[in-house]
């Protein structure tokens, strides 16, 4: 059974580092793992030290990685529609539709939808290939929307299907054809979103929030926790990253360490039931060489 983990959190807290480290961690346990970056500002290539790209790429025998390119996905989808448009004969309509398709490529929401589609396709197509799939997501708001999108879309599609069914019924009463390609497409979409919802809600899917031991990331984590709780999407782990080591004696850092520990204990009291993972700050920059030090901490 495929295990899926989503890593979210404020920008710069270390989502990419930790999701990459976790991916390596699973490969050490002998699990075939796919690491997926959904952040438009991809950086897993930098952490892995290998250029990844928008096609699945082998990194080690057990680890594969991919950086989803929403623009490329949207273009593929729209170009496919353009091919399907051959059935339209009127050149006037065709020209208008082509204008519409060109506009769709840059419309708000397009990249979000194409990214979401690719995530569903990956989860569904490769569920037999991988043991674990790790998603390194974009900063919090983006991730939260992504996880709750199926719910919203299912409702929309249910409404459209109901309306379409009425039309098909009336057409049948008039003795017109009763097979409706629009209804068929709507149902296929709805079923895809139902499947996505099921996969995201599954016990094998978990959400991991990454934060730093500071006030602002804490506030954002609290908001995300509330949002996900309201959406009945439980979080299974909070990772507190870049904690200053306690053995620093410099007075400047001593005060900082006290503040950080306050934040850490607040997290521990607020979310007693969750797994809280503490990762200490390294004395070097993150790259493929220093990554193993984080893997050991997980």
């Amino acid at each position: 059974m495929l295990k899926v983990e989503f890593y979210g959190g404020k920008g710069g807290v270390g989502k990419t580092t930790l999701s990459t480290a976790r991916a390596h961690h699973y490969t050490k346990l002998g699990k075939k793992t796919l690491l997926v970056s959904t952040d438009p500002a991809h950086s897993i290539s930098d952490v892995l030290g290998v250029q990844v790209g928008s096609k699945i790429k082998g990194i080690t025998p057990l680890l594969d990685a991919i950086e989803i390119d929403p623009e490329e996905e949207a273009n593929q989808y729209i170009d496919q529609i353009r091919k399907d448009l051959n059935s339209i004969l009127s050149p006037v309509v065709l020209e208008d539709v082509n204008k519409q398709l060109r506009a769709a490529k840059i419309m708000p929401g397009t990249h979000e939808a194409s990214l979401f589609d690719k995530i569903i396709i990956l989860m569904d197509t490769y569920k037999e290939v991988y043991d674990v799939m790790i998603f390194d997501t974009a900063p919090t708001g983006h991730t939260l929307r992504l996880l709750t999108l199926p719910e919203l879309l299912i409702e929309w599609f249910e409404g459209l299907i109901k309306k379409r069914k009425k039309i098909v019924k009336l057409k049948a009463m008039l003795g017109l054809k009763d097979e409706d390609p629009i209804l068929i497409r709507l149902k296929i979409r709805r079923d895809t979103f139902l499947k996505a919802k099921e996969m995201i809600r599954s016990d094998n899917t978990s959400i991991h929030l990454v934060m730093n031991p500071e006030k602002m990331p804490l506030e954002e984590t609290k908001k995300a926790m509330k949002f996900l709780n309201d959406a009945h999407q439980p979080v299974s782990e909070i990772i507190i990253n870049k904690i200053l080591p306690a053995n620093i004696v410099d007075p400047f850092f001593k005060n900082k360490i006290i503040k950080e520990q306050e934040v850490i204990s607040e997290v521990k009291t607020l979310y007693k039931d969750l797994k809280i993972t503490e990762i200490y700050m390294l004395d070097q920059d993150m790259d493929s060489d220093s990554l193993f030090r984080i893997i050991e901490l997980l």
């Binding site: 989808y77 399907d84 448009l85 309509v93 519409q100 398709l101 194409s114 008039l174």
Partner: protein
């Protein structure tokens, strides 16, 4: 002969009843198709919907219909005419 005349009248009535019923269903259908297009493609009238992206794949099946719909939506006067004619009245 009287019988035959009555028979013809009967069928005329029956057929025109059919015609009336047919027209009523056609009207319903037109209205439902408009409703569907509004729910599916309101983005064409300037409203942003979360399903916009996914509606593009329906274009091969309803682009022609959309074209007419937009024209009708833009020409509001003709919509009123349509509605009045639904009620067999002049606007």
């Amino acid at each position: 002969m009287k019988f035959l005349e009555n028979l013809i009248l009967f069928f005329k009535g029956a057929l025109s009843f059919n015609k009336k019923a047919y027209e009523l269903i056609e009207k319903d259908l037109r209205q439902e198709e408009d409703n569907f297009l509004l729910a599916a493609r309101a983005d064409l009238l300037g409203l942003n919907f979360p399903t916009m992206y996914y509606m593009l794949e329906l274009l091969p099946y309803m682009a022609e219909e959309e074209e007419n719909w937009i024209k009708r939506m833009v020409k509001r006067k003709s919509i009123w005419e349509e509605r009045f004619s639904d009620l067999d009245m002049d606007p």
